[in-house]
């Protein structure tokens, strides 16, 4: 007598942590990492793909809320109901997942009173993709909290949950439905899950550019964060525009699969169709899933119907969901969903009044605006507008890379922070990843 199950008709689903726990020992990046791994539990065995995004358009919006939060499922303080998620469908809350901010959320805690966030998240994401409660005591979809489920990196779904999700979405190609997924408990303490980071154990080399004087090769918004590329290095800013480190990270150590000898990139963007990340250099391009290159790359840019010679800049304009390529004074408009260049291009730039026709790169940001970079300056174009906002260009180094006013003599700039505010001690702008 149960109604037919609801499920997503698409296979690429975006997610975002919209609000974080307020008084929790778990940091934001730990929460994001746990959400990533809890979703991965489901995507590892089904053809579903989850991608973290910024902005309000995510399919699965994750919130930490207290008491009544206007969705018909009020929370009730510590204990009682701890979380819920909405089933797939056409309604705007479909897939949204809410955790009670009054619970003592923990991760790998020995405290028996804590509420293991990973275990609860795996259960709730089961709802978010269409699974309902079951009575089977070993199922993750049993409605009662049963304590931690072990290491997020090694957790495998019980057989009945695997079967139920396969009934909805089928089996992921790389998975054998009869394979035993259970793994023995690790003897060593498992590693703390973290999103890919840019830490390097090697000391900085002499060719390290300085962020305050660099003319960036490429700029991109990836998973809601900003990446500024220069030479073999890049800087990373969180979605709150906080610089993760004053020191740049080495590109090939993070973007695994880029050739070691690659001395720079021309342009980078995150595809809206599947959230893969595309790097351009000269006549070639590479496609990354997360921070690992896909098989079969590099490939020629002619795949995009672009002429030889490469591009200067690329970005996806939120206004029309089209990707724009720029080279010298020309630009092309491309549909990432159909993988076709729109007819009538290239056209003579610029499309946006006030923005220079020759660019280093461009990106859209979580505020809905598009940002265009050239030299040490950038221009902002508000969502849907065709003209740069008044007051631009502004200094990229000052507004994005935590530097002072543009320096008269770039050669005098030593390593270390430049600033005009409390952020100049560097510590104020660091962001811990766990």
């Amino acid at each position: 007598q149960t109604p037919p199950p609801t499920k997503w008709s698409k296979r690429n689903l975006s997610w975002r942590v919209r609000t974080f726990p307020r008084d929790s020992p778990l940091g934001r990046d730990t929460v994001r990492a746990l959400m990533y791994y809890a979703l991965k539990v489901w995507s590892d065995i089904t053809p579903l793909n989850f991608h973290e995004v910024a902005g309000n358009a995510a399919d699965i919006q994750i919130d930490f809320s207290k008491a009544d939060h206007n969705d018909g499922y009020p929370f009730d303080g510590p204990g009682g109901t701890v979380a819920h998620a909405f089933f797939p469908g056409d309604h705007h809350t479909a897939g949204d997942t809410h955790f009670d901010d009054d619970e003592p959320w923990t991760f790998r805690s020995s405290d028996a009173h804590g509420m293991d966030l990973f275990a609860v998240a795996v259960h709730e994401f089961g709802h978010a993709i269409g699974l309902s409660h079951v009575a089977a005591p070993s199922s993750i979809m049993q409605p009662y909290y049963q304590g931690p489920v072990g290491d997020p990196l090694r957790y495998g779904l019980p057989y009945e949950d695997r079967v139920r999700v396969w009934q909805l979405y089928g089996v992921r190609e790389s998975v054998s439905p009869t394979a035993q997924l259970d793994t023995p408990e690790p003897e060593e303490p498992p590693l703390l899950p973290e999103p890919p980071n840019n830490r390097s154990s090697t000391p900085p080399q002499k060719d390290v550019p300085h962020r305050c004087t660099a003319h960036f090769d490429a700029v991109a918004q990836i998973r809601g964060e900003a990446f500024f590329f220069k030479g073999k290095y890049f800087w990373r800013l969180t979605r709150d525009r906080h610089l993760v480190s004053l020191q740049p990270a080495q590109m090939h150590r993070f973007w695994r699969g880029l050739p070691l000898h690659l001395d720079s990139v021309d342009a980078v963007y995150e595809r809206t169709s599947d959230h893969k990340i595309v790097f351009f250099k000269g006549d070639r391009y590479w496609v990354f899933k997360d921070n690992n290159v896909e098989e079969g790359y590099p490939r020629p840019v002619s795949d995009f119907s672009l002429p030889p010679g490469g591009i200067d800049a690329v970005f996806s304009w939120a206004h029309n969901d089209r990707t724009y390529f720029f080279k010298d004074q020309l630009y092309w408009r491309y549909d990432d969903h159909t993988r076709r260049m729109d007819p009538g291009y290239p056209a003579q730039g610029p499309l946006w009044r006030g923005v220079p026709s020759m660019l280093d790169d461009a990106m859209r940001w979580s505020d809905g605006a598009s940002y265009f970079f050239r030299g040490q300056e950038y221009w902002k174009v508000l969502d849907g507008e065709l003209e740069a906002a008044p007051g631009y260009p502004q200094s990229t180094a000052r507004d994005w890379l935590v530097c002072g006013e543009p320096l008269a003599d770039a050669e005098d700039v030593g390593p270390g922070p430049q600033g005009r505010s409390g952020a100049q001690d560097g510590l104020a702008v660091c962001s811990c990843t766990s």
């Binding site: 007598q1 709730e124 009662y144």
Partner: protein, 85 residues
């Protein structure tokens, strides 16, 4: 078995309604449920929760009702109110 305390009964009825074992309260009769319906709902809840099915609000049942859990109902809306015509 001893009769459940009034507050446990109240908690039980509210809990069973919230998680899909009892139909939503009838506006004409307030929260009133028949004893038979209540017993059936408790039995269903005990079955779903892996408890011995007694049909009464015993200690184990009340303890399970106080266990932290997901907010979503265990049974789909309307599942408990279907009857033969």
């Amino acid at each position: 078995a001893p009769a459940p305390r009034a507050e446990d009964l109240s908690l039980g009825v509210e809990w069973l309604s919230r998680f899909g074992y009892l139909p939503p309260a009838d506006p004409a009769s307030g929260q009133l449920q028949t004893q038979e319906e209540l017993s059936k709902a408790i039995t269903a809840m005990q079955q779903f929760g892996g408890l011995e099915t007694t049909g009464i609000l015993d200690e184990a049942t009340l303890a399970l009702m106080k266990t932290p859990r997901c907010s979503l109902p265990d049974l789909p809306p309307g599942a408990q109110s279907r009857r033969k015509r």
